[in-house]
Structures are given as C-alpha cells and as structure tokens.
Amino acid sequence: MATHPMHGWVPRQVTADKVTTAMDGDINPFTKKPLSATYKKILEARKKLPVYGYMEEFYRIFNETQITVMVGETGSGKTTQIPQFVAYSDLPHLKGKMIACTQPRRVAAMSVAKRVADEMDVELGKEVGYSIRFEDMTEPGTTFLKYMTDGMLLREAMNDPSLARYSTIILDEAHERTLATDILMGLLKDICKNRPDLKVIVMSATLDAQKFQRYFGTEKKLAPLLKVPGRTHPVEVFYTQEPEPDYVEAAIRTVLYIHQAEDPGDILVFLTGEEEIEDACRKIKIEADELASQDPHVGPLMCVPLYSSLPPQQQQRIFDPPPKPRRPDGPPGRKVVVSTNIAETSLTIDGIVYVVDPGFSKQKVYNPRIRVESLLVSPISKASAAQRAGRAGRTRPGKCFRLYTEKDYIKELEEQTYPEILRSNLANTVLELVKLGIHDLVRFDYCDPPAPETIMRALELLNYLAALDDDGNLTALGSMMAEFPLDPQMSKLLITSPEFECSNEILTIVSMLSVPNVFLRPPNQRKEADAAKALLSIPEGDHLTLMNIYNSYKQNEHDKNWAWNNYLSARALMQADNVRNQIQRIMERLDIDLTSRTVTGPRFYDNIRKTLVCGFFMQVAHKEGERNAYKTVKDNQAVSLHPSCGLDTNPEWVLFNEFVLTSKSFIRTVTAIKPEWLLELAGNYYDLKQFPAGETKSALQRVLNKQLGRQIQGNGESGAPDARKKKKQKTDHQAQGGYSTPPAVQGYATPPAGTARYSQHRPQAS
C-alpha cells in the first residue's frame, strides 16, 4: 500500500516539487481514491497553462505573505489553478477549513466550479462546490474549495464576521471592482489584522495591480505581486483621423472594409445595447451580401449578435465556425460578432483577429441627488480600451480599429472604469455594512470611497424604513431586513406583509421583481406580444400584473408552451419560482407568517398596494399637468410612465420600482396608489411641515384637509374649538390666495409610520 501522497506535509510550507509529484500520482490526495484517466488527460492540458509554470514562484510568495496580489490575463488559467495550488498548501480538508474563491458573476462561479471539480477528479457539490444567491451547491464538512459570488461571501461575513471557516480567501476578477468585491477588500484588510492565519489573494486581469498592492500594503511597502503573462500576440492599433459623426455607421463601414481588404480572421465589434446591435447586424448582413454578389473576391459573412438578454442557445452561436467558402478554393468566410462589453472580459471567443472599438459602453450610473439610475452610453476607459484591443491577439497577431482619434483617446478617456461603488445606489450595501458592525461609514477604508451624498441617501432610506434609528444604529427590524439578499425596500415589504394579510402575494411580487424581465417582445411580433401582455395585465398596477403572471404560470405549469404562447420568458419565470422558494425559506426561518386573504376582490388588491406603499413610499410620483407627465415626490423630477407600463389610465399618484434615465426620464413597474395611504403609512416621510413646496405638497394638503374635515364631523360633540380651528384653516387658505399652501394643521397628529409599529412586535431575528 502506497503512502499517502501528502504524508509529512506541513501546511503552507509546501513546495512546487512536492505538489507536482502529488499531482502526477495515482491517488487523489484529497479523497484517497485512485485518479481516473480523465484526470490525467486534463492534467496534461493544465500543465500547458501559463500559470502552471509559475507554481514555484507562487508558493514562494504565498507561503511568506498574508496578502498577495496577482495579475494574470484572461486565459492564464489563474481562476482554475490558483485555488487548487492553495488547496495543496492549506490542506483545508485536514483542518475543517475551506478555501473561497469569489467571482463577480453567478454563471462564472457555477461553470468554474464544475471545471475544477473535473480537474480534481471529484464530484461537484462535494469537495468542490459553489454558492450563489438562491443556490447553494456545497456539502458542509466535505466541501473545502468553494467558488462563490462575491455577494455571497459578503452575506456570510454578516453572520461570521471573522470569516473563521476559511483559511484562504481569493478575490478573483478584482479588476472588475464590483460593489461586493470592494466591500470585501475593505473587510478582509481589517480581518487580516486580527487573523494572522488567514491568507488573501487578490487576482486581477489588468495591469492596474499597483492600486491593490498599495491598498493592501503598508505605508512603506507594497503588497507582493505575482505576475503571470497571458498567452497573447501583438495587436496593432489604428485610430481614425477625425471624430466620427455616427459611431454605429462608422463601425459598420469598418467591418465591411476589413471584410474586403484584410486577411481571413473573425471580427469582434463592440456596441452598446441590444437595439443598436440588432440594427448593426441587419445592416452589415445586407451590405455584405451585396458586396459578395458584386465582387467574386469577397467571401461570405456571418453576423452574430451577443448581449446578455439573448437566450442562451442564441448566445452559443458566437462559437459557431465561420461560414465555408461558397465554392472550393473561393474566398474564405468570416464571422462577425457584434457584442456589448460582455465580450470584453467575461467571454473568450476563439478566432478573433480584428476588433472594432467605437469607444462606448452602456454604463449604469446612480445619481443620489435626484435618486435616478441612468443607463446611458458613455465613453469607456483606457483600461477598457486596452482590454478590447487585447481580444484581437488571442490566436495570432491582430488589429484593433479604434473609431476615435489618438488625441481623443489620450484626452477623453479616463484611466480606469469607475468602480461600481461609485456608480451604485448603496442602500443595501450600507445596511450590510452596518450589520457587519461597521458603524463609521465615513472613515471606512474604502478602496475607492463613494460619494458622501450616496451614503447619505442610503442612510435616509434606511432611517425612513426604520432599519436604522436616528443615531444610525441597526434596529431589530433592520437586522431582520439584512437577512434578505434583497433591496431594503423589498425586505421591508416582506416583513410588513403579514399585517395586511398578503405575505404570499408580496412574496410573489418580490420574486418577480428579482429576476430579469419576464416579458418577451420579438421585433417582428410586437403587436401580438403586447396583446398577450394586455390579457394578463391588472389595471391597478404592474406589480399586481407580475403577481397575476406568476399565478397563471403556476396554474399552467403542466403546459410547456404556456409561457411561450403568452410571450413570456420561461427561463425568467422558472428563476422567479426558484427565487420565491429561497425567499420563502428565509421567511420561515425568520418566523414571518405566510398569510393570504381568503376573499379576493378590490380590498384584496388594496391591501397589496398598501403593503407596497410601506416599502416604496419614497418612490412615488404625482401627476402634474399633461396626461403622462409626473413629478417625483420631493425631488420634483419630471418623469413619464415607461411604455412597458400596463396601467390603462394615468392615475394621480403612482408608486414605482425604478426611476431610470435612458433617452428620457422614465419610471418603470408602476402601481396606482392613494395619497391617503402615504399619509397614513408613511407619515414620517410625508410630514408636510418638512415637505418642499409645490403641487405635490398642495395636493397632499388637500387630502389632509379633507381628512381633517371628516374627522371634525366625526367628533361633533367636541364641537366649538375644532370648528373654530376649521374656520381659521379656511380663512388661512383664502388669505394665501390659493397659490401657496397653508401651513400644516397644527395639532393634527399624523399616524405613526407603519415601520415603527412593526419593528416592535415582530420576533427578533436570531
């Protein structure tokens, strides 16, 4: 019987020789089972990865230091190999510890975990697993290498502040600077001080490693760096002479030029959005067909779109080989992939030799001043441009055509893309931070500190939702809200829903809001799709429509074609169902009743809408003037209902899920509400004494006056003083000439916000 391959190994003093020997052995050191033939075959491929050659250097640095920064370009193999290297050094399986490797994207976490399970010759979900929001594919006690989204690790930190179960944490794709990765970096830096046994590796694909080295280093010394070059070829970069008046046209022209004049090799074009990409694909196809019919020296061309909302089977088309020549020894065919920036880092397409880069991408930017999320086309960064160009050199030397001048490249492009923490609404993050025990949000060691106004908006929201008290301390309600991997407004809804006897319904709505758009609208069947949607719509609001769709989906679950026939995304609905189960489990754990009213009818819908008000009272718009002209409450921004909105009228008051800025200001996913509910359920926010003057305030004042009048009529016996007050109120109103609103009536007690009530008699989260 052979000795155990790891016999006599001392954790973190392992050398590359020993590891190589163990890898080449016949017994799996982690499971003690014989290694399969597949393992050996994969091992040969692994040995060819650039990172494999750096094993010795890796161990030298890793064994010596607590925090390592590593740079390895896409294709270097760092995501799959480094965690395994760490496993051979940490020997987590012997110590009951785990290694975590974070990924910004769920899909990456899943697919990489699968790949690594194969490489290590173990079953996925056993020794190697993954954990993503709403899906945990690990086995406690067995799993020692866990791929997970960065958001999941952050959530784990909330209940395990020192992350004690991990021996090493690897933050992969750190250059993407997602919100969760940024927060994790701050946390880990802190945790490392108190846990010398914990090691951290920050892996990045771009060369901006110095930022991380400095951040994780001391004042005198940078954190050590391991640099692994990728397998890349030189890329020649071309600029235009003049700025382009229309970058889409310019991109099409460039593709056609390459197709006619350049050597064989596929083309990757970066555009900004679905519509633009489909439009460009259509035009390229028409032009290329015409060229090919006129000129026998021009080969066939295949144009493939790529964007995230494309169904997976269509996304797969980017891997199709280029078309064959029309006749033997004719000019070869060419594949053109027109993509959003998802092809920039996350997807690798072989065969790309030419890259066309107009210099734009669609970026999500949150503005705390008017609380809008914009999805606008903006210039990319120099780092992004370099990344795009690099895509041309994957298989052989390539060319990158930049549709802007070199001067503009230098002058107009920022060095780095803004990290997500600077571009996002931080309400959820602040709640998480407070739950993590970070009370000083001002001096927290951010890698890039967010705008103070963004933090202030988050505090404002959390305070109004009663998740934080006036001193910024987490309330019992807030603690409970943090248990949900959802925006605080949504978790508030779920916690409040039993009060209104509609928790099942709210659970459905929240689930539907947490998945991608369920409505399909194929370009050639828009009318049919809209008609199908209208049939499922509930006139009072899109939230109710979403609920109705989910319910209809469940009723027709046996019918495989139901979703398709109703122009709905079966994938999104399935996902909603899954999310619903996960959230339901959390609710059960927190002892939140799952109730429903037995009778349906208008009151039934009213209760749901009232619950929505309890969470979304800060996202309300009031109709002012024109049919579809609304103003957001307090910020007074002019918005319109998004065309996707299913309301059949334009109610005076609406609650919205999103305020987005595209070509126009829109509110999306909208439900009609009554102003009385705002005053009743969110009195704190709708305290008219603190309300900015304007039509909205006047309208609310009228409602309040009406209520007051009714109240006075109700208590007739207390007559005299009240009547006087009423009269006084009336004269006040007249004196003001109706232009400005009279001051809020003194002595009229607005009912306390629902929030305060619920936080008191809800069971505390444990």
Binding site: E244, P449, A638
Partner: protein
C-alpha cells in the same frame, strides 16, 4: 419650488419692472403689456412636447448639479432643520466638502514607486460622478466633453451661490412686485370709476371735453382723432359694463361723431379711420406741418363723410394731445390723484365721501380729507 412655470414667477414679472414703467412712453408700455399678455397666454395654454422636454431636461440638470449638502444648508438657512440623514453623517464625523475613506497619510507610498502616477488615479470623490446626457450616436470627440467631477464641484458651488441670491432676491422682489401690481390694478379700477363720475359732473357743468377722463380702457369714448393722435387702438375697450351708460356722454362729448359713424356703413367707417390715422401719423412725424396748420380740425375729417359741419366741434390741438399724453404716461395712482383733485377743486366733490359738497367751506368741514386713509 415649482413656480418657475407659473406666470406669477419673476421670469414674467421682470418685464414689469416698476422703475422702467415711468420712463417708457405710453405706446411703448402698451406694446410691453401686449407682449406680456401674450406670454401669459403662452403660459396658460398647454405646453408643446418640445417645451415640456426642455423644461424637464433643465430641471434634471439642475437637480443633478445641486448637492444634497447645499440643499441641507438652504433648508437650515430658511429656518428648517437638518435632515436626520445629515445628522447621522455629521455624527460619524463627516463635514460637507470632504471625501470619505481613510484619512490620507502624509506621504503616500505611491510616490516611492516609479511611474506609478501615470498608471493610477486617485478616485477620492467628494461629489457623485457625472452622468453623460444622451448625445445620440455621435462618435467620441464629436461631442462635448462631460463635466469632470472637479469642474462639477466648482460649477456647483457657483450655481448654488447664484441660486441662493436669486432666491433671496426673488422672495423679496416677488412680494413687493406682487404688491405693486395689486395696487396698480386697484388704482386703475378706482381711476375708471372716478373718471366716470368726473365725466358726469363735467357733463352737468357743460364741459365738452376733459382730457382727465381719457382712459385707454375706454377707448371708444375718446374722440377718434385724439385717439389716433395718441396712437391707441380703439378696438380695445375693456370696460364693457360702461357701454350702456356711456351713450349719452358720447353724444355730447364726442360731438356726435360716433353717431355719424354708426350711420355710415362699416366699410366706410374703416376707411374713415384709416384716413384719420394717416393724418395723425403725418402730424406726428412731421412736426413742421403742425406748425403750419396748428389745429387738426375735427371738421376736416367729418366733412368727408358729412357735408354739413358740426357746430360744436372739438378742437384737437397739439397742446391737448400733449397734455393728454403726459397725463396717460403717469401711473394710475397719479392719474387718480389728479382726477380727484380736479373734482374737489371744481365741483367740491369728494370721491371717498361720494358727496358733492355745496362749497369749499362745506367740504372743508364735512370731508375728513383728501386721501383714502383719512376716510377710514
């Protein structure tokens, strides 16, 4: 906050600056008034889609360039209180204008590393990153560069300051302007009724024409030749209620001209008016002619339509025109005072008492005084 769109806002009131009012000629002011009413109408009607979009865009830009801390400051300055969120921020040690994050150390290690400055940028932001507003499909460099956060901060400060002064100014001015406008309107109304009374008294006393009763709001009652000499459009007659009662006065005061006119068919009347206008124009643009022919006889005009000259013609002298013009250029308050003074002096009539006294003595003893306040 919203009254930018309101016609009571300073945008429109600016054109009614009280100071300018007295310096402008009557016709100039009339033109202004017309333009003003056009603007009012414009504000009243439903705005076009384009206008609404522009308005929304302006509001959006304004919203995105106004810092929340500025808003807090303003709220406090206006006697409100700091928001709870602001208090929470302050409690954590935040001061507006600062960036978040770990306090900077004196010497950052980046300076020890060669060439690091070119590769890394400090992202410490005190303000939110700016949003590039939609520019269509223009290529990079073909559009305006978005404001960098630093210049945004700068711009912001400036805008906030300007907004503050504007607000303070507009609040003050709004009130005083509003009051002035109200008083002007009130005086106009009183003037009108005083003039009516005056006309009755004049009539009783046998005065054929008194420039003090001339009011452009009752243009139909003004002799047309004078009207034209003054450049007033006779079609404007706001005081509809006065129509019936005015009939007699017209006959007497206007030398039956109106009667003549009603007898003529409307086409002829128009031509007549046009002729008169032309004459009036000539007289105004060629002062020399007036010198030669000092009086513009009413008869000269009427003769064209009527061979028989009227016995009691009103002689429109350039002096009368000047007098009237001078009178009309006064603010309503002054005009009112003059009319009232005239009535007190000539007819011992006190407008405020509504009484015609027998004599100066009688008035001195029974009437409390010349002004309205004295009658309280």
């Amino acid at each position: 906050m919203n009254d930018e769109d309101d016609y009571l806002s300073d945008k429109f009131l600016q054109q009614l600056e009280a100071k300018e009012r007295s310096n402008k000629s009557y016709s100039q002011r009339r033109k202004d008034a017309q333009r003003d009413s056009e603007i009012r109408n414009l504000a009243g009607r439903t705005k076009s889609k384009k206008e609404l979009e522009k308005e929304a865009m302006d509001k959006l830009k304004e919203g995105m360039s106004t810092s929340l801390f500025e808003r807090e400051k303003l709220a406090v300055a206006e006697g409100g209180s700091e928001s709870k969120a602001m208090r929470m921020m302050s409690k954590m040690g935040f001061k507006p204008g600062q960036a978040l994050g770990r306090q900077e150390v004196a010497v950052s290690p980046s300076e020890l590393v060669e060439g690091s400055t070119s590769k890394t940028t400090s992202n410490k932001k005190a303000v939110p990153i700016s949003i590039n507003l939609w520019e269509g499909r223009k290529g990079l460099g073909a559009m305006k560069r978005p404001l960098s956060p630093d210049s945004v901060a700068h711009e912001l400060e400036r805008a906030a300051k300007a907004a503050k002064t504007r607000e303070a100014l507009s609040q003050d001015e709004f009130r005083s302007r509003n009051r002035a406008e109200f008083e002007e309107k009130r005086d106009e109304g009183r003037l009108l009724s005083a003039q009516k009374t005056c006309a009755v008294l004049d009539e009783k006393a046998g005065v054929t024409f008194n420039y003090l009763v001339v009011n452009p709001r009752r243009a139909k009652l003004i002799p047309p030749n004078l009207l034209d000499a003054l450049g007033i459009d006779p079609e404007v007659d706001i005081d509809d209620t006065y129509q019936s009662g005015s009939h007699r006065m017209r006959k007497d005061n206007m030398e039956r001209l109106e009667d003549d006119e009603t007898r003529l068919d409307s086409g002829l009347a128009r031509r007549l008016r046009e002729d008169m206008k032309r004459d009036a124009l000539v007289s105004r643009h060629n002062p020399g002619e007036i010198d030669e022919d000092e009086t513009l006889s009413m008869g000269a005009v009427t003769r064209r339509s009527k061979s028989e000259p009227e016995p009691n013609e009103l002689q429109i002298t350039s002096e009368l025109v000047e007098q009237t013009q001078e009178f009309l250029q006064q603010p309503a308050k002054v005009r009112l005072e003059r009319v009232l003074g005239y009535m007190r002096e000539k007819y011992f009539f006190c407008f405020w008492c509504g009484t015609e006294y027998k004599s100066q003595e009688d008035m001195n003893t029974s009437c409390p005084g010349e002004t309205e306040e004295m009658h309280d």
